[in-house]
């Protein structure tokens, strides 16, 4: 019995919990991407760097707050910085729409042009973030690191193996839940939210119904920028901030959005968890878990790892290609190819 519990503890600590947290982060990122795709109808390659930008603003503001002696007790001060960061990022997003995307929208340019534009915006953001805060790692986390540590867990349960629950993990899970519920309430219950779904569903009919396109576009950018900022800050609190990491997240985020079905918010969330769990499950070294669960005599050779963690991104990619080949509209039937 103890063996099973130990194995479960290991599995929870190294697979279930991190995958759930990572899945929440991906889900938030994928939501932003899928909203932009569903309403503005293009893949926004600048989304990763938008996350970096938002996180950067949050970090700068956090440093300022910390210098002023402001703190949030056991929670990270960065939480206070999030509203400011969201405001600034939304401002940037609206400017980019006004100066870059709107022109092509009016001209009814094909989707590829928007994609290439988003590459330009990506370059811009990349440069800005590195210029302002530098390309290296930045530390901004404070507050209590653990809600309970492995040692505390072991003491409490008497097991050999323990589970650690970090503050950043709890924050991510709670925030993601709150945001998702709020977003769904907005989309399903509010008049504006429904008008956005209508616009995404059938643009011409939406216009005929008197829905104001500019307003829909505005709200889309606001939501996307806000989601990107929050996702970026949560990720930064959890795994540290380095500008390049956010660019790399582009692949799993898009994989998540596509797996769930581009344009479908529910799909983005499901996709986020599917991608996250796959990545973690495939690259976890099962040796210790098997040690507890397997028969006494059997000694696992090596780490018992399907794929080395270096190939994390390969997992997202393979999932992506499989979905595109088998079911291009994704799990929840978003906009098809």
């Amino acid at each position: 019995m103890d063996d099973i519990l130990n194995a479960l503890a290991l599995f929870t600590n190294f697979v279930l919990l991190p995958a759930a947290v990572y899945g929440s982060q991906l889900a938030l990122g994928a939501l932003g991407v899928t909203l932009v795709y569903g309403i503005l109808r293009f893949s926004n390659f600048a989304h990763g760097d938008t996350m970096a930008f938002g996180t950067m603003i949050a970090i700068l503001f956090t440093w300022w707050l910390q210098a002023q002696g402001v703190s949030l007790g056991f929670l990270p001060t960065a939480l206070l910085a999030i509203p400011v960061a969201v405001l600034v990022t939304v401002g940037f997003a609206l400017l980019s729409d006004r100066w870059v995307y709107r022109y092509h929208r009016v001209k009814k340019a094909p989707a590829v042009v928007f994609l290439i534009c988003s590459v330009g915006v990506m370059f811009l953001l990349n440069g800005i973030v590195r210029f302002v805060i530098g390309p290296g790692e930045q530390h901004f986390v404070d507050g209590e690191r653990f809600i309970f540590t492995v040692a505390q867990f072991r003491e409490f349960t008497g097991l050999e193996r323990g589970i650690a629950f970090r503050t950043s993990q709890a924050l991510t899970l709670v925030s993601a839940l709150v945001i998702v519920v709020a977003l769904f309430w907005f989309l399903e219950r509010s008049r504006t939210g429904k008008s956005m779904r209508a616009y995404s569903d059938n643009e011409n009919l939406a216009l005929l119904s008197g829905i104001n396109p500019e307003r829909v576009v505005l709200i889309t950018w606001v939501l996307a920028a806000a989601l990107a900022t929050v996702a970026g800050v949560l990720y930064g609190l959890d795994k540290g901030f380095r500008p390049f990491t956010y660019f790399q997240l582009l692949l799993p985020i898009f994989a998540a959005a596509i797996v769930g079905g581009l344009g479908s918010p529910l799909g983005a969330i499901a996709g986020g968890f599917i991608v996250a769990f796959s990545e973690v499950l495939v690259t976890y070294a099962y040796r210790q878990v098997l040690d507890y669960l397997g028969p006494e005599a059997w000694e696992p050779v090596g780490l018992m790892q399907l794929l080395s963690t270096d190939y994390k991104f390969a997992v997202s990619f393979v999932i992506l290609v499989l979905v595109l080949l088998i079911r291009p509209t994704g799990l929840f039937g978003g906009k098809s190819v």
């Binding site: 429904k194 209508a198 569903d201 059938n202 011409n204 009919l205 216009l207 005929l208 119904s209 008197g210």
Partner: protein, 234 residues
């Protein structure tokens, strides 16, 4: 002066003209039907009245007002409802949400209108939580018409409402349209099923190559041997 009068319409989608000096008029509570062979410009005429394309010549007067300069959305606000031929529902949204979207421009309480639409199309009330995309063709048309009715229009324009629909459903649809007209709303309809449409029409316009060929009451057109020979199969 007619409630809606679009006279001497000449124009098209860009280069060449499709409509040549075409005139359509409808009265309140009246059902006017536009029929004609393929490519005659029936849908084009309706779209021109709604403002979906620019006219080189001619004017459109609605309820005494010249609305030529107004965009389609503005015309909706003036009381024109338009039901496109295809893609006329929000497939991913429920029936009730579709109707809500129809009433988007209205700021008042829409529950009364909702009940009216449900009274007109009882099957919609049954399926109101279902996504519109899951309904049959005929039911979808009902949603489409219901959506347009939610704007409380004074003129309802329908572009080939019975396209791709079975004959029984077509009859039912036409019955509903008559009911709507009886409530005082003017109806303008483009139809491919000329015979059945003219049957319920107060006024019929036969268009050929973008201009009026025959204009008379529905019954008269049905009785007209020329019309019968060329468009109604004798």
């Amino acid at each position: 002066m007619s409630f809606l009068i679009a006279e001497h319409m000449t124009g098209g989608y860009g280069g060449s003209d499709i409509l040549h000096d075409c005139t359509i008029a409808v009265e309140q509570g009246q059902i006017a039907v536009i029929v004609g062979p393929n490519g005659a410009g029936k849908s084009t005429a309706m779209k021109a009245i709604f403002g979906l394309l620019n006219l080189r010549h001619g004017q459109v007067r609605f309820n005494g007002e010249d609305i030529g300069a107004l965009s389609p959305q503005q015309r909706v606000l003036k009381g024109m409802g338009f039901v496109p031929q295809t893609h006329n529902v929000f497939t991913s949204m429920s029936v009730e949400e579709n109707l809500e979207m129809g009433a988007f421009i209205r700021r008042d309480d829409i529950r009364h209108s909702l009940e009216q639409v449900y009274a007109l199309f009882p099957v919609l009330k049954e399926k109101r939580r279902q996504p519109a995309g899951q309904l049959s063709g005929g039911q979808r048309q009902q949603v489409a018409v219901g959506r347009a009715l939610m704007t409380q229009p004074k003129l309802l324009m329908l572009d080939e409402p019975t396209a791709g629909v079975s004959p029984i459903v077509m009859d039912e649809l036409f019955d509903r349209i008559i009911e709507v007209a009886r409530s005082g709303i003017a109806i303008l309809m483009v139809e491919q099923n000329a015979r059945q449409a003219l049957n319920i029409a107060d006024k019929g316009y036969v268009l050929v190559q973008g201009s009026n060929r025959y204009t008379d009451s529905g019954a008269a057109l049905l009785a007209n041997p020329e019309v019968r020979r060329t468009f109604l199969g004798g």
